[in-house]
């Protein structure tokens, strides 16, 4: 089990949070014009790396706000958490 540092509330138990999958996926600007392949990629295809993963979490049983988490999927270790809209950290920031 993790302890997750909410950017707004500080460190809390994982059971207060919910994970919502990969972060930094941009919705195509022109949905009517993209091909079925591009739309399918946007909707369903995910990086799912064995290693560093960027993902969205919510503090459901706390401030109820969304934020991003940079986590290693092999060790489950959380490297950092940051607010929605903040720049995606690079691997060199670890």
């Amino acid at each position: 089990m993790f302890v997750i540092k909410c950017p707004y509330c500080g460190e809390r138990d994982q059971t207060e949070f919910a994970c919502h999958g990969e972060a930094h996926i941009a919705r195509p600007d022109n949905p009517a014009e993209v091909s079925d392949e591009e739309w399918g990629e946007y909707l369903f295809f995910r990086n799912n790396p064995k290693g560093i993963h960027f993902e969205r979490w919510t503090h459901d049983h706390g401030c109820r706000r969304w934020f991003n988490v940079m986590r290693d999927t092999v060790s489950d270790k959380i490297i950092r958490t940051y607010k929605m809209g903040d720049q995606k950290p690079g691997v060199q920031d670890v």
């Binding site: 990969e22 079925d36 369903f44 995910r46 064995k50 993902e55 986590r71 999927t73 489950d76």
Partner: protein, 413 residues
Amino acid sequence: MKYSFYNLVRNSFSYHENWEKAWSSPELKPEYDVIIVGGGGHGLGTAYYLAKEFGVKNIAVLEKGWIGGGNTGRNTTIIRSNYLWDESAALYNHAVNLWEGLSSELNFNVMFSQRGLFHLAHSVHDMQEITRRGYSNYLNGIDAEILNQEQVAKKIPHMNMHGRYPVLGALLQRRAGTARHDAVAWGYARAAENLGVDIIQNCEVKGIDISNGKVVGLQTTKGSVKVDKVGLVPAGHSSVLADMAGFTLPINSVPLQALVSEPIKPILDCVIMSNSVHVYVSQSDKGELVVGAGSDAYNSYSQRGSFDMIEHMMAPLVELFPIFSRLKMLRSWGGIVDVTPDRSPIIGKTPVKDLFINCGWGTGGFKATPGSAHVFAETVAKGEPNDIAAPFSLDRHYSGALVDEAAAAAVAH
């Protein structure tokens, strides 16, 4: 050597010390016609059916660990086919049909026990769901019985029918049940090797060689190998393998855990599962209760689930069966499962020519083992999926023709 009563008696004179090995450990040859990556039940079964029914001679199965050491040997062994949608019903019922003859087909006792599975309904909505699914099963030729509260209480006398999760009824599939999971891997491995398949253990694939859009070879921890066709049959590493071949998959890898209790005398002669309160339980032949529930909701390759998920499993179990509340749980373990957006597998072609994939079985691949292996063998042999496999292509994520079992079938899939 055939396993038979005669050979059992004969070997007893030598104190059972002269049985042949069930499969050997051959060296990796420089070239194969077909290589199956992944030596779980699905992969070994694919190799077996390729050799037996599709006449492929030169086959290898590469397994990065050991046979029976992956998810095939880690699951809760539930087998059923009472799925809602026609596509899933066809696939999983094909598997149940093969399960019924599997022990004699493989000459290996997989201990398939059709003890019946009760899918519980706890609310009016649940009753409507199982009724809808039961009728859908009838139409697809799958046995299903919709039971009311009294009928369930009579069948499972020690279940708490009026607790926090009242039981209003159940959907019963009598042909459903359990099997000995690692015997399935061992049986397919032995039968495949008897047909000339090379089973290479401790051999991890590190790279996939592609030339002009066609797969031509593999880089492994035991050296490089040339190959004409490759079938990827991973459990929890589909995205890692796909990445080697230069494409992505609509898959997230998440931990799923199970646990077993101390062994007790026979008390539960069927499989119980509940979609609404997230628990499933059966009793193994050794007497242990085998308990499972849902997966964790975050991506991980760590092979351990979170502690709070164990509580989520145990709370409804002791509520439904107060008699189990003083049992000690002996072991818990996690495996990594590859989950697709619609909770249905991906079987078929990939963007790379002659590279086929059979993955994304999520939390319920074991039940499909023979069916999955059989349809995938045909896909690899002919280069095109058959009617059962076709709806499960990777392309459905572009066309939108998802086989959405996530909401329709049970949590345990």
